[in-house]
Amino acid sequence: MSTLQYLADGFYIAMQWHNLLYAFIGVLIGTAVGVLPGIGPMSGVALLMPVTASLTSGMNAEQAAASALILLAGVYYGAMYGGSTTSILLNTPGESSSVVTTLDGYQMAKQGRAGAALSIAAIGSFVAGVFALVALVFLAQPLSDLALHFGPAEYFSLMLLGLCAVSGLGGKSMTKALIMTVFGLLLATIGIDNVSGVARFTYDIPYLYQGLEFLTIAVGLFALGEVFKTILENDISSKQLIKVGRILPSAMDLKQSAAPIARGSILGFFVGLLPGAGATLASFFSYILEKKWSKNPERFGKGAIEGVAGPESSNNAASGGAMIPLLTLGIPGSGTTAILMGALLMYNVQPGPLLFTDHPQVAWGLIASMFIGNLMLLALNMPLVKVFAKIIETPPHFLIPSIIAISVFGVYAVQITTFDLVLLVFCGLLGYFLSSNDFPLAPLVLGLVLGPMIENNMRRALTTSNGDFTIFLTKPLSLIFLGCAALWLIIPLILKVRGKEVVINEEA
């Protein structure tokens, strides 16, 4: 079993003391990020990217990439854990994937069962996280073997599929989501062209030759954008925290939530696999499923533990599932995974089918560290849930300016130019105005990350076909991908015309 051998190697890397430390810091910060309203998983990961870059600067490239990814992935799934805490205790979700948790979680807290709800959420997340990882281990190799047979035409179509999927579910208006995607792709063309070496849209400004730095734009759009929003709209919650009380769930609670956790894990994993559909959708689907499955659905909304266990498991499983297309195909399916991909590219590690052969340290180290990270999260969350609840009480007048300062520090530390700092501030402004008018930001980031690869693959394919565009339609796999891409865009449109409510994924 070569997979198990690789996994063992991965554990060897993940168990190195500095990587254990990185995983710990990652999940700790991630939980804090999830708990704090105002910074979601996307801005959390974006904000920490430059910090990890400077932390790992002394190591060799391979190790640095592994350690940085271990930390950043820890933030990602840690935030998924932490988001439930505020939903349950404050009735304000820390991020969009735990919106559903408020429905029953807050009711449970009001009945004095906050501890049980929190610990079930933690247990559910743990089970789901481990389930997603086991599936990841066994799917990674076959999927990347399959992807090795892809030519440039197939890759182009597959990436187009990813972009269409994210745009189709991207926000309230598909037109706006598509505009953001195309805008992101256009921004990616600035700089020296990879294929021919010709400068494009640089206007002899030396900073532009490398292209716009992904990191600057991501931190600006997400972290600063959200900060500006909080400053302007003053949505600082000053609600009363509910006391946590007894933490351990009763045997009855465990028995009731075992099946929802199992269902939520499986459902969430498969939803996470799909590009575009992320943790938010997974938690919605799981809640609906649990309500349909239940013998007495009228209990839902009044503090049913199934309504916490199912969605919380499925959003964690989805964040694990979302790692699969990222690692094996090199195609991120959501905003957060796009940022993780940006981090990988920063270390010159190209995610995709070759990742497992070229950089086994990074790929398997990351997978193994996710096992350990999930274990740490469970160990952290059960006893320390009261401490994390205290983080919510961080005075916002200290928190908000500090986020700006961290963003500035992070970008400067990596780029060392004033140009990038100015770009950062204006991206923050842009991020605020766009997102407050229902322009989703995730497609823009996705376009920015995928832009160069889409273009290269398109041009390679067209070069082999002497400029004949039908190459994308004559290759069977490519045709299937393009067909799916078209369906992702057309089906929501048809549903909308028929007046049906389309579930959308606001932020992943």
């Binding site: 208006s173 195309v182 256009l186 300016p401 520090f409 530390a413 501030v425 105005f433 400029g467």
Partner: protein
């Protein structure tokens, strides 16, 4: 949903698209022997962006007049925002000439106050701890690069 914003932004995006289309015609053709040059991709995208902007414009004029529920009942704190935004811009521009510790301390002190921090002692303490702490850890422990103290201070 803010219709006016949608309309203006659709015009802006259409202009951006047009800019990319026009400018991509000026990209020099390379010696690389291919029928697809470096201008094809941005030009195609620019055209798509213009089409999408037209659609957004059309959508925004067609949409029924819904009262914007999102902004209602919320008073936007423009003054506070503008002060912090100006402070951020100043911070960014002065970071290199004046150095990290001084600018960060001043920036944090001002913005903490604007955001409603009451006690002077606490504000000073947190701002100082943040700026000096980050500088010490990053520059001395991690050997990173941050603009130090300005030369004219004499140390």
């Amino acid at each position: 949903m803010n219709k006016a914003f949608d309309r203006y932004s659709s015009v802006c995006f259409a202009l951006v698209g047009a800019l990319f289309v026009i400018e991509s015609r000026n990209i020099s053709t390379s010696a690389y022997g291919s029928e697809v040059g470096p201008n094809l991709f941005p030009m195609g995208l620019g055209i798509i962006l213009i089409i999408l902007s037209l659609r957004l414009f059309w959508e925004s004029t067609r949409a029924r007049t819904e009262s914007s529920t999102a902004t209602e009942g919320k008073t936007l704190q423009y003054k506070r925002f503008l002060v912090i935004f100006a402070a951020t811009l100043l911070y960014v521009y002065l970071l290199e000439p004046v150095g990290y510790v001084i600018t960060t301390f001043l920036f944090l002190f001002v913005t903490f106050k604007v955001m409603g921090s009451k006690s002077y002692i606490k504000t000073t303490f947190v701002a100082f701890a943040f700026s000096a702490g980050v500088y010490y850890v990053y520059v001395h422990l991690l050997q990173g690069t941050l603009p130090g103290f300005p030369v004219w201070l004499g140390f």
